[in-house]
Symmetry: C2
Subunit: 301 residues, 2 copies
């Protein structure tokens, strides 16, 4: 299963029972949490997402509607006795914010929290079965989008390397599947030393908050599902630009130019109670568009 479940689709502040931004990407058995607005831990419980299976959290930028729920989620994980490591990726100052709040509460987490500061575009996670990369977006403060790519199986064997590491041919099928190999004396031969990726698999891109930026079409070229913010309807394009946000037609044109398979739109301004005009406008330019609705899982096919 590869899909994204929307936990919050609103910008700035909660309104009309819409929550600030958060979404969880399921890829096989892994859960990746992207952004974590206030109340995300309650939304995780409401939609029965197993927080214990979240090992990676990505925070796009430090506007509150994208991360005010993070410290509550982390401390609740601790109170619930989590033991496995947690990896958080976000702008560097986020570490000081977390540390300060743990320190004043005299809290020692029962698990190891690895903080990875994002300082530019690049590779964040490289796993034999998937990768996560980030890219900078144009917003009022430093902001990053993320692309999660499934590495297509089976992987291809680097025969010479496999022979050199003494891996028996009978094990090749497992290598193609992404497994590491353990030698008799306990040495681990990493899968990526003896295989290479097949042609690209399915992918999900989250554009975070951004002013209309045609370069995003190159960055998200050919992804399977693109989530692009549409804070405003098209008639508010001046306001959108002034606030470093995008409109429906701008998101749709990025999707069209990037030749993505499907577009998901969200991060709606609290000024709108009714969301259907967003869908109508975006579909007029890019028909394979859907509204990002809370509690809904969008499959990446």
């Amino acid at each position: 299963m590869f899909g994204v479940t929307i936990l919050g689709n609103n910008s700035a502040l909660p309104a009309y029972d819409r929550h600030p931004t958060a979404q969880v990407v399921t890829l096989h058995e892994q859960l990746f949490l992207i952004d974590c607005g206030e109340g995300t831990q309650v939304q995780l419980a409401r939609y029965k997402v197993k927080r214990g299976r979240i090992n990676h959290i990505f925070i796009s930028h430090l506007h509150g509607d994208h991360y005010f729920g993070l410290i509550g989620l982390i401390t609740s994980m601790g109170l619930l006795g989590r033991e496995q490591d947690l990896h958080i990726y976000g702008p560097a100052p986020l570490k000081a914010i977390i540390d300060l709040q743990l320190e004043v509460a005299a809290t020692t987490l029962p698990f190891t929290l690895h903080f990875h500061a994002i300082e530019g575009s690049g590779l964040l996670v490289d796993h034999p079965k998937y990768s996560v990369t980030c890219f900078a977006t144009q917003h009022r403060i430093p902001c990053y989008g993320f692309i999660i790519r499934e590495k297509k199986k089976p992987r291809k064997i680097l025969k010479e390397a496999a022979i050199q590491h003494g891996i028996p041919a009978v094990y090749y099928e497992r290598l193609k599947n992404g497994d590491d190999y353990e030698t008799r004396d306990g040495q681990i031969i990493k899968n990526e030393w003896v295989t290479f990726a097949n042609t690209p698999g399915r992918s999900y891109a989250y554009s975070a908050d951004t002013i209309y930026d045609p370069q995003l079409a190159d960055i998200t070229k050919d992804v399977t599902l693109l989530y692009h913010e549409t804070t405003y309807l098209q008639d508010q394009s001046d306001r959108a630009a002034a606030r470093f946000h995008s409109t429906t037609l701008q998101a749709a044109s990025i999707a069209r130019d990037a030749c993505v398979k499907r577009l998901l739109i969200g991060h709606f301004s609290s000024k709108y109670e009714e969301l259907s005009p967003f869908l109508t406008e975006a579909c007029s330019l890019f028909p394979d568009t859907e509204l990002a609705l809370e509690g809904t899982t969008y499959l990446i096919l």
Copy 2:
């Protein structure tokens, strides 16, 4: 109207649709927010509390279940265009936490935020019509409870002082009512310079988080309504003490010894889904006890 509306009655983390601690005290036209767990801004909206009328926020201590919703509430107030001053009272490190989060978001609030560091027991707000004092409780980190006292009207005139300030006798009724006096040349004669308080009026005490501490009975002596935490039922008294919390019978004994009129119990541990045993146990010692239920307003009569 003098009453307290419960917005969150749970300890540690959200559970069973109970929220972390927050409550709003209404006294005449003033709203005082006491503690502000994650999701408080949503709870304020749910129970139709006008956030624009909140000018004072009191934070008991820096465990997340008592303040993680504060930064979201403050920034939302700013996004909604609040202009009037906001006063926040809490442990000193709270200021750095707020400042850091505003700074990384490049946020300038459109209103003035006055931060008042609480560093010991004493008077926080002194108004002709009410006062707010704080007292230290015994918890794992520095923690404070609050007492909001209505000053009983009419106030009594200090005749000599009133004459000395040239206040005409025809104005005495307004002085008794708490009003200041303005002289012909625009000088303000503060009400408290020429009057003194009548016998005590109604009062509300919030004990915050605390281990069982008999001194609290002296501190909250004769208050009209006491909110005392009951994180655990009586059979968990060892666990309560180890975690610097209180049980039902401990809260009830404070209420009894303080001769309060009514006791409100809350801050329930997430281990309990059913709350009625809390009421049964506390009432066995102090019958005028009520459960602090979210969305309910308890009048202070």
